[in-house]
């Protein structure tokens, strides 16, 4: 009997159900889309912020003092300390390894050309696969410096190099140094002191400078949590429990701490210019998205509960009739809640699908041109129960006052009333 009533109600009152269903559908679509955008906006903006370069820099601990003005080394240090390139895969084994999105080691050397000329050069990774166990990333200087503009091609073989735009060299030129011939495959414009250098593969630079496995500095780009008062604490003064919490949060300071632990003889520091401000920008933009999502939630909640209230209010006569035929208040309330629940689950699920699609489309069109990496999963499964539960809660909350009013009225009054 109960199920027949439920079924008939959906079959006969299609218009009313359609209106209430439409309100729930639109509400959940908007909420799903906003929540999906808000959860992914952090990653997307982080990718955009990669433009600002590394936020953590690793240098050898026993380094000499740099004498650099405007990016130009005035007194190149000789015989300084170096880090080992073979230690770098350890970066992918630290606690927050998955938050490390880019690694770019460099080794500045001086090329002695056959012509007697000496030109500065830097050994770099171009497209290097950094792997440790299951996690691997393809990274290197071009990815870490998206503002570098290249004409030609990045070096793909050990004997290939690119020259800075201000060196006056040309694509196709050969540089003879010792018994090695370097072929220029591209020209790069960086807008800074790099423009006067020759960029060559790290291994080639190590061989030419006779510094096997050496790197003098590593730039790391990591996804971090903006710094708060707790992040600034010195981990060695914290209690073991506090230390654990500090260690397990992706602060730039904790990641730098873990890098120091993983790589012997390394000094890792956050680049404050990038890190402090990136965190702020990221926080502001995702905060804005979350607040707007909250506004969407509130608005959708109002719309859905208003629609549900109207839908029930229209059916006062029905309630009166059922009461006069002997149905208990509880049974009627149960029937109406069941109807509401079914509608909310069905419309909520469809709204979830529509909203996910909409968010994926919006995200893809706004953040177009970021490469395949920006296309995340379209469906965020965890949102489904959240959104359906919200739809259910709002729909039930919206219909409760109307159901209660209708049940409290005298059935004969309702039936006699001309409304």
């Amino acid at each position: 009997m109960f199920f027949r009533l439920l079924l008939e109600s959906f079959r006969r009152q299609r218009r009313r159900k359609a209106l209430a269903g439409l309100a729930i559908l639109l509400g959940t679509t908007a909420v799903t889309a906003m929540l999906a955008l808000a959860t992914t906006v952090g990653d997307r903006i982080h990718k955009e912020l990669a433009v600002y370069g590394a936020n953590i820099v690793i240098t050898p601990k026993a380094d000499l003092l740099d004498v650099k003005i405007g990016g130009v080394d005035i007194k190149p240090s000789t015989g300084g300390a170096y880090l080992k390139a073979s230690d770098l895969p350890k970066l992918k084994s630290i606690f927050w390894a998955n938050n490390i999105t880019g690694v770019s080691p460099e080794l500045p050397i001086s090329l002695n050309l056959a012509s007697g000329q000496q030109i500065p050069a830097t050994g770099l990774w171009f497209h290097h696969k950094l792997a440790n166990g299951d996690s691997s990333i393809t990274t290197g200087a071009p990815i870490m410096h998206p503002w570098w503009k290249l004409t030609g091609a990045w070096p793909a073989a050990p004997g290939e190099v690119v020259a800075g735009a201000a060196t006056g060299m040309h694509i196709g030129d050969n540089l003879q140094t010792g018994d090695t011939t370097l072929k220029i495959t591209g020209l790069v414009s960086t807008g800074d002191a790099m423009d006067k250098r020759v960029l060559l593969p790290l291994e080639t630079a190590q061989r030419l400078a006779n510094l096997p496995d050496a790197v003098s500095r590593v730039d790391v780009s990591a996804r971090t949590k903006p710094e708060d008062a707790f992040a600034r604490k010195d981990p060695d003064t914290l209690s073991p429990q506090q230390h654990e919490i500090w260690y397990c949060r992706p602060y730039a300071n904790s990641i730098a701490y873990q890098i120091r632990e993983a790589i012997p003889g390394a000094q890792a520091d956050q680049v404050r210019r990038v890190e402090q401000n990136e965190g702020n920008v990221l926080e502001r933009i995702s905060g804005l998205m979350w607040l707007i999502s909250a506004a969407a939630l509130l608005a959708a909640g109002f719309a859905v509960s208003a629609a549900m209230a109207t839908a029930i209010l229209e059916r006062q006569r029905e309630i009166g009739l059922m009461r006069s035929l002997g149905a208990s208040k509880g049974a009627i309330a149960f029937l109406f809640y069941a109807e509401t629940g079914l509608l909310a689950i069905f419309a909520g699920a469809v709204g979830y699908l529509l909203g996910s699609g909409l968010a994926a489309w919006l995200g893809a069109s706004i953040f177009a041109g970021d490469g395949a990496a920006s296309v995340g999963p379209v469906l965020i499964p965890v949102l489904l129960p959240v959104v359906v539960a919200l739809a259910l809660a709002v729909a039930i909350a919206g219909s409760t006052p109307s159901i209660r009013t209708a049940l409290e009225m005298d059935p004969s009054t309702i039936l006699r009333a001309d409304a």
């Binding site: 439409l22 955009e48 503002w147 680049v271 109207t310 706004i366």
Partner: protein, 375 residues
């Protein structure tokens, strides 16, 4: 018989409207709530949207200098002509932040070479707000030691430096930490620096607010005014800022459209359901001789009156919400904007009018007699 005609109530159009709104108080109230919510949401989003660029560009100012003015490197030993700083500030605009720098390689008391920079701490404080230091030095002979440089100084309180045979002793003012080149330098006030080394500023760092277009315009102005100087944008900052601001802008635009649409359609559905429910009123009025136009005008006016009230309430609520959101998120207030009001009004009136007119199509086909009989 005569009695009845004299006491017949004079029901004017406005009287009917007023009674309809007051008599069905619950219904009018729920319509008002719906229209207030739609107006409030649209007001809040549009207000935030209108203010978004300014807010975001303000955040990006913290990244520091986006233009660097230097003496061409071919002329070693040359410095910027006197008065350049003021002229650059003038050309870059009053909102731009400028800070002069001069560099020299000196020797510490331990015999290590170190880069010593002269600058204006008051200007750097605003330009490079990410510098981490105990407090900004104010004394004329203060020396701010970079964290790495401090390791090569024996006495951190009386810092002894030698440049070209001239020794100077400065009061150490704490350690500076940035994670960049600054860590390997010692910063001292420009006046003390010039007195000691005889070197005047060679670099001016400029922060131009407002994204790529503003920087481009300022670059053109600066380059035409100082043709002999090298004026370079900090490329990653300029490009990054515009990209992120544009994308956030589009994201917000998408969100505004999405939410406005949702609210509009939901409100439309609710309102038209409540109008549809009044089939019997419609039938009765029609049976009493009301024309189709009169009835439509009646419904429409009722909806518009509620819509207007909704706009007034919604504008207040929405402006307050926008103020709260930007206070929480950006820590600065977004003041109510009157310029969003026409759009909010238009949207709300359109929703109300559609909600009133949509059911009329359905009602037109109904026979008053059949409806009143309850069929």
């Amino acid at each position: 018989m005569t009695h009845r005609t004299t006491h017949k109530p004079q029901l004017s159009f406005l009287g009917m409207l007023r009674r309809s709104l007051i008599h069905r108080r619950a219904r009018s109230f729920s319509a008002l709530v719906a229209l207030t919510v739609s107006a409030a949401v649209v007001t809040a989003l549009l207000t935030l949207y209108a203010d978004l660029n300014a807010k975001l560009h303000k955040e990006f100012r913290n990244f520091g200098a986006n233009v660097v003015v230097t003496v061409p490197t071919s002329e070693t030993g040359a410095s910027l002509p006197p008065g350049t700083l003021a002229a650059v500030q003038k050309a870059a605009g009053p909102d731009a932040l400028v800070a002069p720098f001069a560099y020299a390689v000196a020797t510490t008391d331990r015999g290590t070479s170190v880069v010593v920079a002269g600058t204006d701490f008051a200007a750097v404080r605003h330009l490079d707000s990410w510098w981490q230091l105990p407090q900004w030095p104010t004394t004329p002979n203060a020396a701010l030691l970079g964290e790495r440089a401090a390791n090569f100084v024996a006495d951190e309180h009386a810092v002894e430096l030698t440049y070209a045979g001239k020794a100077v002793t400065l009061a150490g003012a704490g350690k500076l930490k940035t994670g960049g080149d600054e860590d390997s330098r010692i910063y001292i006030p420009m006046v003390a620096f010039t007195q000691w080394t005889g070197i005047s500023p060679t670099v001016i760092e400029v922060q131009i607010p407002g994204g790529a277009a503003a920087v481009e315009a300022a670059l053109t102005r600066l380059r035409s005014q100082f043709p002999t100087l090298q004026i370079q944008p900090v490329r990653q900052l300029v490009e990054g800022e515009s990209r992120i601001v544009d994308r956030t802008h589009s994201l917000m635009y998408g969100a505004v459209l999405l939410i406005a649409l949702t609210v509009a359609v939901s409100v439309l559905a609710t309102l038209s359901a409540s109008v549809l429910e009044r089939r019997r009123d419609f039938a009765l009025m029609k049976a009493l001789g009301g024309s189709q136009t009169q009835l439509m005008a009646m419904f429409l006016l009722e909806a518009l009156a509620i819509a207007l009230a909704g706009v007034v309430l919604g504008y207040i609520v929405g402006s307050a919400a926008a103020l709260a959101i930007s206070q929480v998120n950006f820590h600065t207030a977004t003041l109510p904007r009157l310029s969003v009001l026409p759009l909010v009004l238009l949207l709300n009136v359109a929703i109300a009018a559609l909600a009133a007119l949509f059911p009329v199509r359905v009602l037109r086909g109904l026979q008053p007699a059949a409806l009143l009989k309850g069929e």
